[in-house]
Amino acid sequence: MPSPNEYRLPFEAPIYEMEARLSEMEANYAKNKAVGDSSGFAEQIRRLRRELANLKRTIYANLEPWQTVQVSRHQNRPQSRDYLDLIFDQFVELHGDRAIGDDKAIITGLGHLGDEKVMFIGHQKGKNLTERTACNFGCAHPEGYRKALLKMRMAAKFRLPIITFIDTPGAYPGIAAEERGQAAIIAENLREMSVIPTPIVCVVIGEGGSGGALGIGVGDRVAMLEHAYYSVISPEGCATILWKSSEHAPKAADALKMTSRDLLRFGVIDEIVAEPLGAAHRDHREAAANLKSFLIHALRGLADLPREELLNRRYEKFRRMGQFLEESSA
């Protein structure tokens, strides 16, 4: 699928260049085949395809943290709604927080994952300007977090496992959001998610922007897609504080250690879900297939745990997080 120019990330230029060469060669091959002279082309095309795959592998195996952030924000990167179509069957969306309204930045609803019925909760950023405006670019208001909590409680009541997809630059920083208690509702979600008596599996599929991400991110298994990021603060925000300008965001992305490999090392996530060659925006189907098999496997591992065991493990999982120094036992 060719991408319009504006979606092209600068470091992907060699990939697009080689793809252009390849399609030119393929066109020539087709033309020459028609007149019966194609022998040399076929071998060249095969070689170039191999080179292209290697090039993608090399580039994507060596991304700088800032390039990872760019990939996680790529406009063609699959979002919750894309995965809903590709992973879940018979999805029925449920709206509203029964207090303020229906926040489009968080989608909630029921669906089938393989044989299992699940509650789905996920951020949605929107694909075009109209959608993005309606979704506030994936930045939820308090009503979004309240909607998520309400649906999670219902899932627990009917013994359905919960799946959350995290993809937000952060909870919405606005006047109405503060008036309606952004801090209070995120705090409540953190407390409640730690004791909701049903399995919860969370995946950061794109941007894991601070408290807005964690607000639906407390679970029994937490994973990240390979090129997602998860951070206490946006790289731009960090750069503004430390170096007085968001232009230093690449430096901040590096300093904050926000990639999936960093988080696995810190023990904050359990698993990295592999992305297709050249990242999820190149192949939604393969990205969805990888995610689906991770989710099925993760839920299977949790299904038979007694409630108390499930909640104890969830508590201990977060209880262990952190690094500090302590003088020998007191």
Partner: protein, 282 residues
Amino acid sequence: MAKRPGGTGDSWHGHFESKRVPEGVWMRCEGCQATLFRKQVEQNLNVCPECQHHFSVSAAERIAQLLDADTFEEWFADLRPADPLGFNDRRPYPERVRSEQERTGLNEAAVVGQGFIKGIRIVFGLTDSGFIMGSMGSVVGEKLTRAIEKATDQQLPLVIVSGSGGGARMHEGILSLMQMAKVSAALARHHEAGCLFVSVLTHPTMGGVAASFASLGDLILAEPKALIGFAGPKVIAQTVRVQLPTGFQRSEFLLEHGFIDRIVARKDLRSVLAQLIGYLSP
């Protein structure tokens, strides 16, 4: 292209250095600009006698103001920050920590322990806004969690006074963010055990601290005119591009919107706390 909310701004860390009472015999009140005799301000619990502006107070002063004399027993004082990220902004994080320790006499932004308030035994914790803006890294999260767990085990009421302009501490990255979940989970257990938690919000309580333990009290009290919120006002102003309302994100604003139970002046805090704990403890 529309502006990307939260993308360019700092949606997380309010950058609010709270101002201690300045040195010198005379001082100017940042609330009413009056020239004040410093001793008199100190004797007034660090509140301006003219306009009731509440200056921030140190951990030691806060403990002295709230708890019965000499009853505070500090716990886990030997926990010290590590440097999991190898963070270096204008100076390496361990160096920054050392200079904050020297300046404040604290090992970290949180102090926890047990004490008595008008004869009632409580578990007490605070975050001192003077130590890296009272921000929560691994040590703050761990100390608070251990204190909450002790309160749950011993069925004790818990009081936490927060002064945290820095929210979750950037210098420890994602591990700081996870402290929000850790402390909140400990509070869930304290809550389920039927124990009382009183959260006292002081200037400033922002970001990841406001979005975790500080907002989870059975009772939430606030000192007057404290700045309390999720996103910093500068970030909000940049995002929404309108003038922020007067008094936005101050205690009075939160009271009006239904998020705190009472605003309590510093001089009344000890007696109001004792009274409320008396109502809600067995």
